[in-house]
Subunit: 351 residues, 2 copies
Amino acid sequence: MTDPAITAATNHQFTLASRPQGAATRENFLWAGVPVEQPAEGGVLVKVLMLSLDPAMRGWLNEGRSYIPPVAIGEVMRAGGVGRVVASKNPAFAEGDMVYGTLGVQEYALVAGGDIQRSGLVKIDLNVGSASQWLNVLGMPGMTGYFGLLDVGQARAGDTVVVSGAAGAVGQTVGQLAKIKGCRAVGIAGGEAKCQWVVNELGFDACIDYKAGPQAVREGLKEHAPKGVDVYFDNVGGEILDTVMAKLARKARIVICGAISQYNNPNSAPAAGPKNYLSLLVNRARMEGMVVFDYADRYHLAIAEMGGYLKDGRMKSREDIVPGLENFPEALGRLFSGQNFGKLVLEVAKD
Amino acid sequence: MTDPAITAATNHQFTLASRPQGAATRENFLWAGVPVEQPAEGGVLVKVLMLSLDPAMRGWLNEGRSYIPPVAIGEVMRAGGVGRVVASKNPAFAEGDMVYGTLGVQEYALVAGGDIQRSGLVKIDLNVGSASQWLNVLGMPGMTGYFGLLDVGQARAGDTVVVSGAAGAVGQTVGQLAKIKGCRAVGIAGGEAKCQWVVNELGFDACIDYKAGPQAVREGLKEHAPKGVDVYFDNVGGEILDTVMAKLARKARIVICGAISQYNNPNSAPAAGPKNYLSLLVNRARMEGMVVFDYADRYHLAIAEMGGYLKDGRMKSREDIVPGLENFPEALGRLFSGQNFGKLVLEVAKD
């Protein structure tokens, strides 16, 4: 039943060759081609179309278990992605089904029957959102923004919500959702173009360009969060976290989603701790970490709600699509230099 | 009606002379005697018996508003204390009543009618606890421990609760209350004597001597909190906070009550931030600040409950009583060098 072209095809892939010190580069990965294998009973073969490039990937390259185990040396680099089932021996999936799952940085993902759940392989509906939106607002970044803002951050109408990485995948969801829920949304992003897009296209109330310096961030918060910050959704850590912590409102909630400014610290040095943490005491405020996987049993609710917002135009999304699997290492680097504009996606195949 | 001896008496007091850089010393205060004045309509004159010496006092000496305004230069140094009403023109208080309130570092506190509420002046019952216990487990430290552990820390039976400053005023309440609520209580204290007292007298499950070094704290936590720390009640900040953060259990709660290791930082330098704060992310944990005054409307409930524990012997208390108002500056210094053993109290008068 399988297309003979696929059977004869080579599966190009990036495996992890060495653990990076500082930023990951091409030298840390091995580019190889292996034969495409057919699924055994219960398994599925997926042709990878798009891969999600995320800050968390950098953490997976470090030795030592974090919230999930690291990628092993020699293992295909881990990545979530969207693909099309090209061969199935599992009754839950049919050839032609569009799926999301942990597919890896490769052209074809062979998911064994026993690995379907661990890979999070699920069918997706392209009528609800495009393939790249399924990696963005309907995918992990969107789920992170949704549950981080509403469950962990407890954002309520009237709150001032500040989000860093505002033009990124998580940030764009957080700010738009904050507006929909009746909050004031203030973004922090790098550069004038991102800031303008966030305000003019996404409808944030304001956006502060952190590249203008710490003083600009301080003044921006003073102007745009005059009563203090009720919810700070932190994707970046470092100096920006320090600055926002100096402007907390009473009973503020800080959602610790990530710390991209710290992920490339050499020798896995710990992130710089927030200098102003005693602001938590003075303001009776709270700082709480989140990992999106904890909310898996409620993803479907968030997808239904946000799919509705995409349909009725209350929510927009922007993806920064880099073509070519072979460009993976450099594409990943764009995240950490802030070069991406919107959710960073690697296009592996058109269809 | 007023005792002529009092009318003729001098009120000795310490006023703030200059703002300390680093530790506060005698040079920062002015020792003076002023005539005792009689209360006007609505006012009360209190003879001060015992004053509470607390880490928070150091913060009140810095310029700039924290959760309460700083003590002004020339103002009587702020302090909570227990005293006896010696003259009253307020129907709520009678001569001879024992009271608690913000009395100041002086022999006599004249509380004007309009200041009764701001001073938190309330009658206390010496049948529930001794005067020094009213500054300890039944006073602000006890209230801090009670609401910090149960409300902010959400301690539940079966949790492992770790508390720093375990032999101090707040720490002794936290650990004993944790035991009463069915938790495992692990203290961190300075020196073998404090550790032994906390375990043998107060019934903590274990106590780690931080003076044995960071490695000892790490190993102690490994041994005594093998499944990780569910609640960390932090009175000290600094390196101990870092070390505990590396041992958090999933969904841990850190209660930020104080950071005594950081209060004497020169030039009001900010406290050192917790290096391991991304442990909050990995462990989906939370760090939350508290200020005890927020719970004022429920003090009576905590006092009733803990008064019961004192009566039935399930809770003990220890106060370190330094006699002599004139010794205030040096007595305060004992807190920051960890010399006090139990709640530090300054005895101003016997009766």
